[in-house]
Symmetry: C2
Subunit: 460 residues, 2 copies
């Protein structure tokens, strides 16, 4: 498939922030655009943890991509998993079910993002789902709420304790927000709903191999965030390296070299990311390089060395130490779109890409957040209001904003959660991999070996 | 597990309309109540088709049962699939994961509802999901929206036509509403979103072995409903018996005895119901009888013959030809709860159970419905408004009403749908059973045999 009109054809891979903002920049310009994505929705990833904890519906944070760009008449959206990029013949191969599609491009914008990384221990993923997709979030929703359900009927105190222990691995923004929300739902939302267990006794543990939480926010906010989490009842375990994960628990290694086991049915993996393998595929064909996280070293105009027709944006990029955040993808997508239009119009190049840091923020609990915007750090209620406003504005689509706002009122004012449904698939089919386990649980540390530890060293 | 307090212990099986209204009736009375259900939510089934077609989130129609009854302090909710009712020792056995729970009762209310029936052809279910659970609705959501996605990239005209043909089997309220909504979303919601296909060309077919749609609404409304569907572009095929279903199509037998094949990737089964097998289990132990749909013949006070301590309500009941609708379950659940309280208080029995018909209604399209309330039949916009009001009022929980109302405004005023997300599981894992099929498709009628036809004869 190529441009029908004979116009310059831009192919975009990915419907995340990078791909979507590139498409919007190119919308109704004198080019033809094909956006290829393996999901039919644009995912607003910063709020994924709220789907996992029953605050928002998946529709609230994942509007359909073709709905968003329907007025950009020159943009075509197709569903497909990209299996190959042929740099020589300028073609992208993609698949959906048994359909194979070949799309030729004049310019290419690769914005395929990053997935969860288990640092070489992919067998962890079965027991500790990541936080990267709607599937992940719904799976975790089933496991979190399901654990309370199963604890209510459990008659074995060890089993019950294991069901009411929740471990989040990784103390970046996603992990911090997730741990805070699990504590919040246990203590507030579920407070009066059970008769045998007290959900408030749930034990929420945040584990990281690094010495502090939210390291990118700076020392002051880091300390504040940790205190705020602890006040909420979250146990923060730092300098604690995860060396194994199985059905019934995780094993961590403390700084003194000793191993211990935390028994827990529900594990959340928010520790590391790995860029899409399309980066390595491009590197191989063009002689460029990827870093250990799979991110491609690009020119300062976001193009692949020697290939000015290929832009790479967002989480797939290794450039000047820019962080893997939504704003990098948004700004990169816009930049790439503009660059292509300027070239076609014969205008001079816009100069090197420069990431503008718009700050970072994370909510810890209801009415409390930490925010770092430029040199200004703030915390507490004011930061929480700022967080609210920024996220509402950043969402795509008026209707999603209204629906999200409504669900926030239900949760923050009413202590309720409207979106707690799990399918059988989520509660049983997948969780069934985990039976509830014996009372006498063998210590995981018996199985520790140094190879596992090595691979975890990159976790923080 | 039995009542801790020594109080009279009522066990309720099921969290549908019957079980929930029984629990509310018994709430804060001088009894102990245990509600056992295989889902953690109460499902508002009349709007399930709106989850399948992207209007509502699953949370909107499935509030958590223990959330609803949290102020009824004497009601305990446990998750479990009932595997056995032991009438002799008055015990209910249930399971969740590998936990086995035995609950003893003084009184028992069985409100386990009905599942989809394929009339002996359970292999149809793989290709034509039913409309009974949240899992069903999300699976169908994935298949419906996924078919348009796959059609957009298909280059084979036969395959594309098959992807854009949607067949709904069963012309009762669920089937009629489902067919209407698929037509509506194809023609309005998706109108400007595709570039290769015209979603408005989607072919929606409603098939039933009976000679009319909505037979329980009476002749006049039946004709009106059919005309209204046809005006919307739904093809109504009556007197057409489904004799086989496979990946790529369904086979129907017309009144003249000839067979034909409708090629279609997306099939919805809304044709028949079968009562929970717990009915047959009770019948076997008590010497009572079930009808062909598995419904138990009960006394006129809804008790099992010879067992005044066991009430059966809702879809599991065969009594005086009462229809299997939500109101029968609601009224039955309340009646059973009241009967138990009156007995304990030593008051005289309340007399035979009498079902009060509160009417029936079905929406055909935006701004158009049919309603039959007592002797009054009405159609069109007024019926649609009545439908809106009745359904909003019948929903459980204020927050679900607000959220549903918002989603209705988005859909009915804006022609948008906020809840179109499918997980990979739904789009791929299950649909992957269906590859997209060959162009030259073997006629299903070659495989027809009389046994299949016989079993379908009960469909209407």
């Amino acid at each position: 498939m190529s441009a029908n009109s004979g116009k310059h054809h831009v192919v975009i891979i990915g419907s995340g922030f990078g791909g979507l903002f590139a498409a919007k920049e190119l919308g109704n310009k004198d080019v033809e655009v094909t956006l290829i994505s393996k999901t039919s929705h644009h995912l607003f990833q910063p709020l994924l943890y709220q789907v996992a904890t029953g605050i928002l519906s998946e529709g609230d944070i994942a509007p359909t991509t073709r709905d968003i760009v329907q007025r950009q008449r020159n943009v075509r959206v197709i569903l497909g998993d990209v299996t190959d990029i042929d740099v020589e013949s300028r073609a992208v191969h993609s698949e959906s079910l048994n359909q194979h599609t070949v799309t030729h491009y004049d310019s290419l914008i690769v914005a395929a993002g990053a997935g969860q990384s288990y640092f070489g221990n992919n067998h962890f993923s079965r027991f500790a789902p990541g936080m990267k997709s709607i599937d992940d979030a719904l799976e975790l929703r089933g496991r979190i709420f399901g654990s309370f359900e199963l604890a209510e009927t459990s008659t074995d105190p060890d089993q019950r304790r294991r069901l009411l222990t929740f471990v989040v691995v990784g103390a970046g923004p996603t992990g911090v927000e997730m741990a805070g929300q699990i504590a919040e739902l246990a203590q507030r939302t579920l407070a009066d709903e059970f008769r045998q267990i007290d959900p408030g006794e749930a034990h929420v543990i945040l584990v990281d191999a690094a010495p502090k939480v939210l390291p990118s926010f700076g020392d002051r906010l880091s300390v504040k965030a940790q205190r705020s989490l602890e006040k909420q009842g979250v146990e923060v375990q730092l300098d604690a390296m995860v060396t194994d994960v199985d059905q019934y628990g995780i094993q961590v290694k403390d700084p003194d070299g000793s191993h211990r086991t935390i028994e827990t049915m529900t594990k959340v993996w928010a520790a590391g990311v790995a860029a899409s393998p399309l980066g390595a595929m491009l590197a191989e064909q063009t002689g460029s390089e990827v870093d250990r996280a799979g991110r491609l070293h690009v020119e300062d105009d976001l193009t692949v060395p020697g290939h000015p027709e290929i832009f790479v944006v967002g989480d797939m990029v290794n450039l000047k130490g820019y962080p893997g955040v939504a704003q990098l993808a948004i700004q990169g997508g816009r930049y790439a779109g503009r660059a292509i239009v300027r070239r076609l119009e014969g205008k001079e190049e816009q100069g090197a890409f420069r990431y503008r840091d718009k700050g970072s923020m994370a909510t810890i609990s209801k009415y409390s957040a930490v925010a770092s915007i430029g040199r200004i750090n703030f915390t507490g209620f004011l930061a929480w209001l700022a967080w609210l406003a920024v996220h509402l504005m950043a969402m795509v689509g008026f209707k999603n904003r209204i629906s999200t706002l409504l669900n926030w009122i239900i949760t923050f004012v009413g202590d309720n959660r409207n979106e707690r449904v799990s399918t059988f698939q989520q509660v049983f089919a997948r969780t069934a991999m985990q039976d509830l386990g014996p009372s006498a649980y063998p210590d995981l540390s018996d199985r520790a070996d140094d190879d596992d530890e090595e691979s975890e060293r990159n976790a923080s």
